[in-house]
């Protein structure tokens, strides 16, 4: 009741204070407010400072072509918990410019760059508005509805060429090599000179600082091919001696425009694609997407399905944290032996996934309104032995060897510090946010599924350094086991699917934002439906991507060797960062 009271108050206040500039979004199925562009900063400042909406979770651009406008959708939360406040602002499609929120919420940095890159929405006042996922010099903005890829076939799946006259033809033959690229009319590929990344290098801040030794500043590229970057990821670092003065992450090497693929797909077809985002935690990805679409459809999975979902999500969390701690040690120099010991248990958990979902990593297990199939009794027994015996034992062993390990502590304590204020402002999520002393966990702050009924504590740290992130992950694994024990005890019998399984779900028009506490942080899916079989807009709030915004702040003043550990402590997966 209190929330709704506050919300009414807020609505009244906003309407009264800003008058015409703030309008409730009255389109059917839509939530939140439409804000005039020129008042956006003012409204957001008042939201942040007077109402406590200090956490900008997600910034999404939406192209409403052929309507003549683009929309930017902001999801604000309070770092003390509660549901979202959705703000939208519209800009004409031929020249979309929107004020940047970077000055108020530095966490908007990468997300606004993404919207500029993929949709061509210009954010005025952004300090470094470059492309982020595509390369500099790419023609066009691929997420616009009128942009077409070289292998374009049709706007929406299923393609008509497949049935009933599906004579096979290779895509390559359809669009043969050397003819599969179209250049803009005034472009000559023979005369093109590759971009020298001048914007990137020129943007490095070399502000003066007091230091005893004055040395020459040099730029070092870590990556894209570097064993410690967990994939193809590049950090451009400005060094003074061994200290990091400035850092710019460069990403997108694994970019495949997941969102464009998602908008071509039908709702169900997206499910296996979400597996490929953060390929270590495919179950959590399924969970977030299923929640978003279920919100739109207005259906609720049956009780047993909810329990199974939570069970899978928590097993995934355990698995992911084991992985991330193992690879943190790898980054600290203990090359591969500890990380391989850390993922021993992963094999056993993956065996369970394989038996239940059919695949070890690309699970594709969740459906709208339930899960694909029931968990057999013998698998439940397997999970029980794991949860009651093997996993806690492993965790104890882990702690015995690591928590007081002098090497780990001397490398991690006091390194890569992020204060709570910085963490919230930078929209950091997950264990990194909690290690900074902000006990914000979506499972508690804005409960979904059955988490409200489960007993568990939100793990959080105090110092915000790498060591606290390690401790938070260990504690979260313990809490996951605690949740798993309750779930295994209480799991009811019954169906695992609401209604009949359908391959073509009917989704009423509207928008929904489904978010879960993934192992890496808040994983959100923003889905807009226009009543057709394909989503009009499908956006992923990828936690590893947004957590990278804080890398620069954490790395400032650190040594190069620590940089690798700091990156390891954020726990990124490039499949999700680059999408």
């Amino acid at each position: 009741m209190t929330t709704s009271w506050i919300e009414t108050q807020l609505t009244e206040y906003l309407l009264e204070r800003f008058g015409e500039a703030v309008q409730p979004d009255s389109r059917p199925g839509y939530l939140g407010f439409l804000v005039a562009r020129n008042k956006l900063l003012e409204v957001c400042r008042s939201l942040r400072d007077e109402f406590g909406f200090d956490y900008l979770s997600s910034v999404t651009g939406v192209d409403y072509h052929p309507e003549p406008f683009m929309e930017v959708v902001y999801h604000f939360y309070k770092s003390t918990g509660g549901s979202a406040l959705v703000m939208k602002t519209q800009a004409p499609r031929d020249n979309p410019t929107v004020p940047s929120l970077c000055s108020l919420y530095p966490g908007a940095d990468f997300q606004e760059r993404e919207a500029w890159d993929l949709l061509g929405i210009r954010f005025e006042g952004h300090p470094d508005l470059r492309r982020i996922l595509m390369w500099e010099g790419f023609a066009g903005h691929p997420l616009r509805k009128d942009w077409r890829e070289p292998f374009f076939e049709e706007d929406a799946k299923p393609f008509k060429s497949r049935w009933p006259e599906g004579h096979f033809i290779r895509v390559e033959d359809n669009n043969p090599y050397k003819n599969n690229v179209s250049y803009p009319p005034d472009f000559d590929p023979g005369k093109w000179v590759p971009d020298k990344d001048e914007l990137l290098y020129g943007g490095l801040q070399s502000f003066e600082e007091d230091s005893e030794i004055k040395t020459e500043r040099i730029v070092v590229n870590l990556g894209p091919q570097h064993p410690s970057t967990h994939g193809v990821f590049r950090m451009v670092v400005l060094l003074e001696g061994e200290r990091v003065v400035d850092l710019k992450p460069v990403m997108g090497y694994l970019h495949r425009n997941h969102e464009k693929i998602g908008e071509r797909n039908t709702y169900l077809q997206n499910m296996p694609f979400t597996d490929r985002l953060d390929y270590i935690c495919s179950m959590s990805n399924n969970f977030g997407y299923a929640l978003a679409v279920e919100k739109l459809m207005g259906i609720q999975p049956p009780e047993r399905a909810e329990y199974i979902r939570v069970m899978m999500a928590e097993l995934t969390r355990f698995l992911n944290h084991m992985f991330s701690i193992g690879f943190l040690l790898n980054d600290l120099g203990a090359f591969f032996t500890p990380s391989l010991y850390a993922i021993e248990e992963r094999e056993l958990i993956l065996d369970i996934f394989e038996e239940v979902a059919g695949s070890r990593m690309m699970c594709n297990y969740f459906r709208f309104g339930g899960v694909a199939r029931d968990v057999p009794e013998q698998v439940l027994d397997k999970i029980k032995t794991l949860v009651h015996d093997r996993l806690p034992r492993k965790l104890d062993e882990f702690e015995r060897y690591l928590t007081h390990n002098e090497i780990l502590r001397s490398r991690c304590e006091g390194v890569g510090v992020l204060t709570p204020e910085q963490a919230i402002a930078l929209s950091v999520a997950g264990p990194v946010l909690r290690a900074s002393g902000v006990p914000y966990d979506v499972r508690r702050a804005d409960p979904y599924s059955i988490y409200e009924r489960l007993e568990f504590d939100v793990a959080y740290g105090i110092h915000g350094d790498i060591y606290d992130r390690y401790l938070v992950r260990i504690e979260e694994m313990r809490q996951s086991l605690r949740i798993l024990r309750q779930v295994l005890k209480d799991i009811p019998n019954g169906p695992v699917m609401a209604g009949k399984p359908q391959f073509q779900v009917r989704v009423p028009p509207g928008e929904a934002y489904g978010r879960v506490e993934g192992p890496k942080g808040e994983l959100g899916f923003y889905v807009v439906s226009n009543g057709k079989p394909n989503p009009w807009r499908y956006h992923v709030r990828a936690p590893s991507f947004i957590n990278l915004t804080s890398l620069k702040t954490m790395a400032h003043g650190a040594k190069v060797a620590d940089l690798v550990a700091i990156l390891g402590s954020i726990d990124i997966v490039l499949g999700e960062v680059d999408r």
């Binding site: 049935w163 169900l268 059919g358 060897y401 090497i407 391959f503």
Partner: protein, 197 residues
């Protein structure tokens, strides 16, 4: 003490090393290259190193394991009869759109016949999601367990045609006995309901 933790760390490796030997002694020859040994090494009771020495040893795959789809046919009077009716649901639900179906037509009337005349699966594109098998209303397309399909020529060998993806129902019953029994039961019930009505 400085360096003590390095020794403790090495101790973990040593422990694994010794435990592997203890297990080897305890189980003797059974531990390697036998189904029983593999099962023991993948159970949660296992100690020491539990590497499975592929390809000499292979982990048994669970029933629900999915790799590539295949079409199920039944032998009726020595003739192959595909269960597939070319309804196109698998082609429509396929996320990467790797299924291509040509529906048969009656040469005399020109009317569509419920059977595929051509059926292709581009296995380079297939993402092993299993939707085709899950949503097939005729239990005609199922997910295979065979994951060793590497070949030297992707141009010719990676597009599976009707010949290559048709497999007998006995094969299906062998790799997925649980699913098969379940479906047979449902089918019997349906038949029974029909005869009563």
């Amino acid at each position: 003490m400085n360096g003590l933790w390095i020794l403790r760390g090495l101790g973990v490796t040593l422990k694994h090393f010794i435990e592997t030997y203890i297990e080897d002694f305890r189980q003797g020859k059974k531990r390697y290259f036998t189904a029983q040994g593999i099962e023991q090494r993948r159970s949660s009771k296992t100690r020491g190193i539990f590497t499975v020495q592929y390809p000499e040893e292979k982990l048994p795959v669970p029933e629900e394991f999915r790799y590539l789809p295949f079409l199920v046919y039944e032998e009726v009077n020595g003739q192959r009869k595909l269960r597939c009716t070319a309804c196109g649901i698998c082609a429509k639900v396929c996320p990467p759109q790797c299924i291509w179906i040509v529906r048969s037509t009656d040469p005399e009337t020109g009317r569509p016949v419920p059977a595929p005349s051509e059926f292709y699966i581009d296995v380079d594109v297939c993402m092993n999601c299993g939707f085709c098998a899950e949503y097939c209303p005729f239990d005609a397309i199922k997910m295979d367990h065979d994951y060793e399909i590497a070949s030297f020529d992707r141009q010719r060998e990676h597009v599976f045609d009707l010949q290559k993806i048709s497999k007998p129902v006995t094969y299906y019953a062998k790799i997925r006995p649980g699913n098969y029994a379940e479906e047979q039961r449902a089918r019997m019930m349906k038949e029974a309901a029909k005869t009563i009505a």
